[in-house]
């Protein structure tokens, strides 16, 4: 999620920090062990900013939330049912295609295949049903909800990787081995639209460290 230096996303009042956020502090991929910056620094900044942002604002009435809650309740009740796909079957297929075609080594034909397969899996995912109606710790329901997000994210990852005809950070294209700063020194962002995800791009904030070729 695109966040500014205070963690605020383009959706006013919604904050994103940590692994879900694109604050642009790291390069093409955050290296392991470097999450402290996001948690300690930007977590604090976002918390403080959020507190300032809401101070003096009126708390909306409970009724204001009812519409959203009803939508959510409907989304969950539509997921319940005896007959339908098992979430694990769809998830395993997604896992396989992501591993094979969107993993460490990527190329155009594999990514095209992945985009196509994921599109089909999103369709298939609509018929996933949850059998367990446990009211607490319902992991089957939790997994079914998460699957929806995984399919959407898998789709934008594959689409973004297909369009990005270069190698950069953890994105390694065997058909485009070099980085292409002229065209691709930018973050990929995707917005959900009724016609599917729409890609947009965001400039990279460069301060002290210029991007350079990795030679180790």
């Amino acid at each position: 999620m695109s966040s500014d230096k205070n963690g605020m996303t383009p959706l006013e009042g919604l904050y994103a920090v940590g692994e879900c956020a694109c604050i642009s502090a790291h390069g093409a991929n955050r290296l392991g062990g470097n999450s402290l910056l996001d948690t300690i620094v930007f977590g604090k900044r976002a918390g403080e900013h959020a507190a300032d942002h809401i101070s003096g604002k009126e708390t909306p009435s409970d009724e204001a939330y009812m519409g959203a809650l009803k939508d959510e309740a409907r989304f969950i009740s539509d997921l319940m049912g005896e007959e339908g796909e098992n979430f694990a079957a769809v998830r395993d297929e997604l896992r396989t295609v992501m591993q094979q075609d969107v993993g460490v080594f990527r190329d155009r034909s594999g990514l095209e295949r992945a985009v196509d397969t994921i599109r089909q899996l999103i369709e298939k995912g609509r018929s996933v049903r949850v059998k367990s109606n446990a009211r607490s710790f319902n992991y089957e329901l939790l997994n079914a909800i998460e699957l929806k997000g995984m399919l959407e994210l898998g789709q934008v990852i594959a689409m973004g990787a297909l369009v990005r005809e270069e190698s950069r950070g953890a994105h390694y294209r065997t058909d485009f081995l070099e980085s292409d700063d002229e065209h691709w020194l930018k973050h990929t962002l995707a917005y959900q639209t009724p016609d599917g995800p729409k890609p947009e791009y965001k400039d990279v904030t460069i301060t002290n460290f210029q991007p350079k070729r990795r030679e180790y």
Partner: protein, 264 residues
């Protein structure tokens, strides 16, 4: 094939259910539980997160031994016929099991079961809060930071490796009989902050006061069960014994300084 005999609980109802799992090489008990949850019965629940012994969420009782499901191999557990007395400490009673190719899975003892294999960790966290598990000197850090020698860091690291999984709490006979007993994880955490040179003396003393009672270091049976089961090789018993030695010294020091004041 391996059978998972799982203790189920929903509200007041408790029952045991056996599931047949298709075993694959290298399968952990957690993966076997995933198989049950995804293929056989979606209503079964257990906690998990990292799957690699970092988060400490999947603590449960496997063949009567508290341990992490992610770190326990099906191949090892399915034919465990006895509980190793050496591993479990000298006072452990060996448990003889008759079923082969079966793993008995139950929730972690000494905490309230919420559903199936999920226990309420709240009580454990409340006990932890009693000893204030943080360094209090956050605001007066000297210029250049608070330096610590590598030797001391290593000494403390043994204790900081704790992932708060509560496996030790589930193995502890003192915690089993006394709800107010702080337990191995909390008591060794208190010792860890005593060793920390960044911590203020008065906070160290306050922590000693919190553990200088039957619910603290004096409640321990010294049977080393916690040390035996810890997945991160923390040695809580050692930390408890060290405090039993150190606390009287502190009391004497305190008494002497009070006496000196009196003379003045």
């Amino acid at each position: 094939m391996v059978n998972l005999k799982i203790r189920r609980q929903d509200g007041e109802r408790i029952w045991y259910e056996t599931f047949q799992v298709e075993e694959i090489p290298g399968m952990s008990v957690m993966e076997a539980l995933f198989y049950v949850q995804e293929q056989l019965d979606g209503s079964i629940c257990f906690r998990y997160s990292c799957r690699g012994a970092v988060c400490g969420s999947c603590s449960m009782l496997i063949n009567k031994v508290p341990r992490l499901a992610c770190r326990t191999q099906v191949a090892d557990a399915k034919n465990e016929m006895t509980i190793d007395a050496v591993k479990m400490g000298p006072l452990a009673k060996p448990i003889v099991r008759v079923a082969r190719d079966e793993i008995l899975i139950e929730p972690l003892p000494n905490l309230k079961v919420l559903r199936d294999l999920i226990v309420d960790m709240e009580h454990f966290y409340e006990l932890l809060d009693i000893i204030k598990p943080w360094v209090s000197s956050g605001k007066d850090v000297p210029e250049g930071g608070n330096l610590m020698s590598p030797e001391l860091e290593q000494k403390i690291e043994v204790y900081t490796n704790c992932i708060l999984c509560a496996v030790c709490h589930g193995s502890c006979p003192a915690a089993a009989r006394d709800e107010t007993y702080l337990g191995p994880a909390v008591l060794v955490k208190a010792w860890r902050f005593y060793l920390d040179p960044r911590e203020h003396e008065q906070e160290k003393l306050a922590r000693f006061e919190a553990v200088d009672n039957e619910s603290g270091v004096w409640g321990c049976d010294v049977v080393f069960k916690c040390t035996a089961v810890c997945p991160k090789k923390v040695t809580p018993t050692q930390g408890i014994i060290s405090q039993r030695k150190q606390i009287p010294n502190q009391k004497i020091k305190k008494a002497i300084s009070r006496g000196k004041k009196h003379e003045n």
